[in-house]
Structures are given as structure tokens and as C-alpha cells.
Amino acid sequence: MTTLYAEAFERSTRNGGGKGPAALVARRRAAFDRFASAGFPTTRDEDWRFTPVAPITRVDWRLDAGRLDAGGLVSAAQLEPFRFGQPGWATLVFVNGRFSPELSHRPELPAGVSVEPFAEALARDPEFVERSFALVAEPDATAFSALNAALAHEGAVIRVAAGADLAEPIHVLHIATAEAAGAALQTRTILSVGQGARAQFVESFAALGDGASFTNAVTEVTVGEGAWVEHSRIQRESESAYHVGLTQVEQGRDSHYRSFTLAMGGAIARHDLRARLGAENVECLLYGLYLGRGDQLVDNHTVIRHEFPNCRSWEVYKGILDGRSHAVFNGKVFVTPEAQKTDAKQTNRNLLLSDTSRVDTKPQLEIFADDVKCTHGATVGRLDEIAFFYLQSRGIPRDEAKQILIYAFAAEVVTEVASVPVREALDRLVQERLGIRA
């Protein structure tokens, strides 16, 4: 298995992966070596206990899919449903992992704001890419992210200069087409927000057709001092696809970062979200919603590291599981001895709609400071019969009452999205997926 990846790495190094600053090239090689020596995780690894990745790791994926000709595979009209009716948003489109200039929209942005595909950013400012790539993301966070560091040559590099205020979200849209079946797509996105800036990002992972592709995505986010960032991640790939993602966030002093993660695609979909509160007075809000049906396996792992005093983290992840779907939630909150006055709350709630769906949830607090306020809790339950009766007693038929209650469960986190157009888009998407009549 490793031979496949080793060959791909050598090939990629020859075909342009050797480009860029020497430190970057060396970092890719080091990442590959780490991947090669550690190998893919198995269910014997605590972090992957409930998520067997054998269906991903035993496949001989095509690793040169980035060279699939992206032009012409997708028409602008086919892309429309994924744009949320927002043609004006700066949007970078990647088709099967490859940047599509034709489908992307790059309007004029405020001074100091750049939205570029990886290769362009590397050519224009190699020094910036070198000091941003695979450093925020702990290079060895997972075997998948190490593999990504070695192989990813595509993705978005977005820089928002100090003090900039973006009125509209920037959208990074990944589309997998039927041609991506059997291909592994490695993408790397860098979001860098300067001091005091305000920005909203949307990352979408979507599919046309139901091909079994494998997306291995890493996103590195740097939130500067006093900056405000909202980051929505929408994973709506094909239900035959495999998706492994890592989002790593580094927050500066007085900054506010809020994320919303929607996971509803993939046969196996795993997302790791790791936030390091690396200075004082930081606020970090993580909201998540995962929807499983059929035989889907959806896994969310989050890690919040409180390393400085007076920081607040607030996390709410909710899941709705139907069919034989299986969800995994693992949330760790670390509070180091320095992080006094930490205020951390973590909640995971799950709604089972079938007898055959299942959830493994594990919220964890590891606290080494003594003057903190930290709570966590997890629930797994079914629709409340009394709530059903309440709605029925007002004339609402049971089927409709069920829809309302399911939607209500989801809406409780969707409403936390601050950006109105993003919230409305997510709301529609969730309703559509849950089969709810608006």
C-alpha cells in the first residue's frame, strides 16, 4: 500500500512538487516519511476506534487525479445549486481537486485581501506559503494530514490583511464529478486573517453524481489578534464517497472564531477540528450538525486547547441519525495549568430516528488549571412523545409534527450561524436533506 503512495510522492515531486522554497519541499518530504513510517490508522488506535478506515486504505486510489482535465466537466449551470444563489461571492472552484478558473469568480476585493489557488499563491509569494503551509496544522496530526502535506498541490490560499472588513463570505467550493470515482483528491486550504480584520469563509465539499471518490482535505486557519472570523464547512459529498478532513485553527489575542460544520455526505466521513487558543482573551465557538442515513458513518473529532488565561470556548454538536447510520463524536477540551479563568462548555446531542442507527459519543475534559468553569454533556435520544402530543393537540398531523421536531433539533445549531446569507443557505440545505416542506 505504501508503495502506491511512495511512487505517487516521487512522481509528484518530479512533476512540480519540488517547486517552491526549499523548506517547503523538505517539509513535504518529512511529512511523507512520517506517513510512511506510521501508516494509516486502524481501529486499534484510540482516535479511530469506531471508525474503520479499511474501506479507504485498501483501495488503490488514482493519486494523479489532479491531472484530470477539469475544464468542461462541469458547466456553470450545474454549479448553480452549490453557489447558494450568491453569484457575487468571491468563489474559488475546484473540480476533482483541480482549480477551475472558468467556474471561479474573483471579484475585486478590498486592498490586502487575496483569494488565490495554491499554485498562484506559491508563484506570487512563495515566502508566505512556506511559512503558512503545514505549520498551523500539526504536521503529524493524523496520517491523513501528513499524506496531504506530502501530496497536496491544489487548494485555496486566502489572505485577509489587518483591518480589512469583508462584507460577504468567500467561498471555496470543491466539486467531485463522476470522473473522480476511484480517485483520491488531496486539497490544502490556507485561511489567514490579519489583526482586527473581519472575514467569513465557506468551504463546500460537494458532488455531481454518486462516484466513490476519496477526499483528503486539510484547512489551516490563522486568526490574528482581535480578528473576527466565521468559518462554515459544508460536507455534502456523494453517499458513496469517502471524506477525511482536518481543520486546524490558531487564534491570536482577543480574537473571535466561530465555526459551523455540516456533515451529511460520504459513506465514511471523518472531520477533525482542532483549535488552539494561543493567547489571552480568546473566544472560540464550534457548532456542528451531522446527518446520517442509510449506511453512512460520520465521525467528528474536536480538540480545543486552552493554553492562556481568560478564554472562552463554547461547543455544540448535534446529530440526527436514521437508517443504519452510525455517528461518532469525540470532543476534547484541554486546559493547561496557565489557562486560569477558562470558561468552556461542550455539548453533544444526538437524535436517533431508527432502531438501527447508532452513536458513540465521548466528550472529554482534561483540566490542569484550578480556577476554571468547564462543563460537558452528551445525550442520545429519540423524539419526545410529549412534544409530539403537544403539536398534535394543536391540530398538526403526526407526520408533520415529526418533521417540525426533527427540523427544530437541527435548527437549534443552524441558527447560531452569524452570517445571514450563509445561515439561510444552510437552513434550506438542511430542510431539503431532511425532506422538510418549508
Binding site: 398534535q392 393537540s393 398538526i396 398531523p397
Partner: protein, 253 residues
């Protein structure tokens, strides 16, 4: 309008209603009183179709229809409304959405046209006035973080919007301060019409100062042990329930 004959109902193994007979005619207000545990809330909930209770004997006819054979939503669509003793919080659904969904579900069931959000809001305004609320309450989640009094007022608002033929209020007065009690009474009185009826389930006589009943019934151990006019409530206020039930309040509470 409503005719209850020999109604018996159980929760699990425990029989709570042991034979209720009651006739409510259009235009009437009936107060159902009784000590804690006498079955008065159960009666209210059984009429609305609460799933926790099994009817084991008897019949209930509502406007000529077999009420017990109907789903809870069909009862509501036919014009039965229960103001809950413990209104349910539904996070994630706004009051506006909930009320419109209910209103339209009932209209749809009656073959009437559904109202769009704008027209519905117009209609809502006058109903909000009944409970002395501004429109901002409509954007809050259903009963989400409401005080006890606010929840009861919200029940009255729902009742005002849905305009049921038969309103059943299950201890809507308990735990209310005097202002909230006045608002609840105003809502009920605003609904009074010759073609509608009200059943007030209450523990105390206090509410009956504001909503004057035509009949008062006392429940004990799951059946009506005394019926009378509004003076019966005053007598209960003065003498307690023991003289009718043979038990002290403490023993049944």
C-alpha cells in the same frame, strides 16, 4: 356539544378515571374541581388524546363524533383545544412558525385556504393584544425559557388564534400572579360565544372570580361526587374538599 358517559381511564396499571359522566352544552362554562390526585387533569388530557392514558370503558361524543376514536390532531381539527398544565418547550421552532403551522393544519383539515406568513401576522396582531404581548414574542422559541406565567399566557394566545369550539384549561391558573390570572381570564372570556364551551380544570376558586362558571363539578377518586352552580365553588373555598371526599387534602396531595 360534549357528552361523556361512564368514562374510565388508566395510566399503566393504575385506574385514574373510575366512571365519569358529564354533559357540556354549547355556550356553557364548566369548572372541574377537586383535590390533587382526584383525576381532573387526567380527564382533561384524556379528552385531548394524551398517549399516556388508556381508555378502558365509556364513550365521549363531541358534536356527534366519537372523540375517543380520533387522533389528537383530529380532535384539534374538530375544535377541541387543551391548554396544558405544563406547556412543552420546543427549542428551534419559533412561536410564529408553530402557531401558523397549527392554524393552517386546522384550516387545511377543514378544507379552508391556508394563510401565508404576512396574512397570518395580521390576524395575529389582535390576538396578541388579548394576552397583552408585543410581536417580539413570536420570534422566540415555543415556550423556550418562558416563565411559568408566560407559558400559560402562550397557551391562551394559541387558544385565541385557534378559536376552538371546546376549550379545556388544565390548571391554567396554578402558579399565576394576579396580573397573569387577569390576562388568562380575559382570553377565556373573549372566546365565550353561544356556540362554544369551556371546561376549566382548577384546584382553586380564585380563577372563578374572573371566569364565572355555569356549573361546578367536584372530582374525587376519578369520578364526579358533586355538581352544582357557581356557589359550590365558594362553598369549597370555605370548607375545603374533605366534606365531599372524606379525605384530608394532605392525604391525597
Amino acid at each position: 356539544m360534549l357528552e361523556i358517559k361512564g368514562l374510565r381511564a388508566s395510566a399503566g396499571e393504575k385506574e385514574i378515571l373510575t366512571g365519569i359522566d358529564l354533559t357540556v352544552k354549547a355556550g356553557e362554562v364548566h369548572a372541574i374541581m377537586g383535590p390533587n390526585g382526584s383525576g381532573k387533569s387526567t380527564l382533561a388530557q384524556v379528552l385531548a388524546g394524551h398517549p399516556a392514558y388508556a381508555v378502558t370503558a365509556g364513550t365521549v361524543t363531541f358534536q356527534g363524533q366519537d372523540l375517543l376514536d380520533m387522533e389528537p390532531e383530529e380532535r384539534a381539527q374538530a375544535g377541541v383545544f387543551l391548554a396544558f398544565q405544563y406547556p412543552v418547550e420546543i427549542a428551534g421552532v419559533t412561536n410564529a412558525y408553530f402557531l401558523r403551522a397549527a392554524y393552517n393544519a386546522i384550516r387545511k383539515a377543514r378544507g379552508e385556504e391556508e394563510l401565508d406568513p404576512i396574512d397570518f401576522l395580521d390576524r395575529l396582531e389582535e390576538k396578541l393584544a388579548v394576552v397583552e404581548w408585543g410581536p417580539e414574542i413570536m420570534q422566540r422559541a415555543v415556550n423556550g425559557g418562558f416563565s411559568g406565567g408566560e407559558k400559560k399566557r402562550n397557551e391562551i394566545l394559541q387558544m385565541a388564534v385557534l378559536e376552538p369550539a371546546l376549550a379545556i384549561l388544565d390548571e391554567t391558573d396554578s402558579g399565576l400572579d394576579i396580573d397573569a390570572l387577569r390576562i388568562v381570564a380575559k382570553g377565556v372570556n373573549a372566546l365565550r360565544r353561544p356556540d362554544r364551551a369551556t371546561i376549566l380544570v382548577t384546584h382553586y376558586q380564585r380563577l372563578l372570580n374572573y371566569i364565572v362558571p355555569d356549573f361546578v363539578h367536584v372530582l374525587s377518586e376519578g369520578r364526579i361526587v358533586r355538581s352544582g352552580g357557581k356557589d359550590l365553588a365558594l362553598e369549597l373555598e370555605a370548607r375545603g374538599y374533605e366534606w365531599l371526599t372524606g379525605q384530608t387534602e394532605g392525604a391525597v396531595a
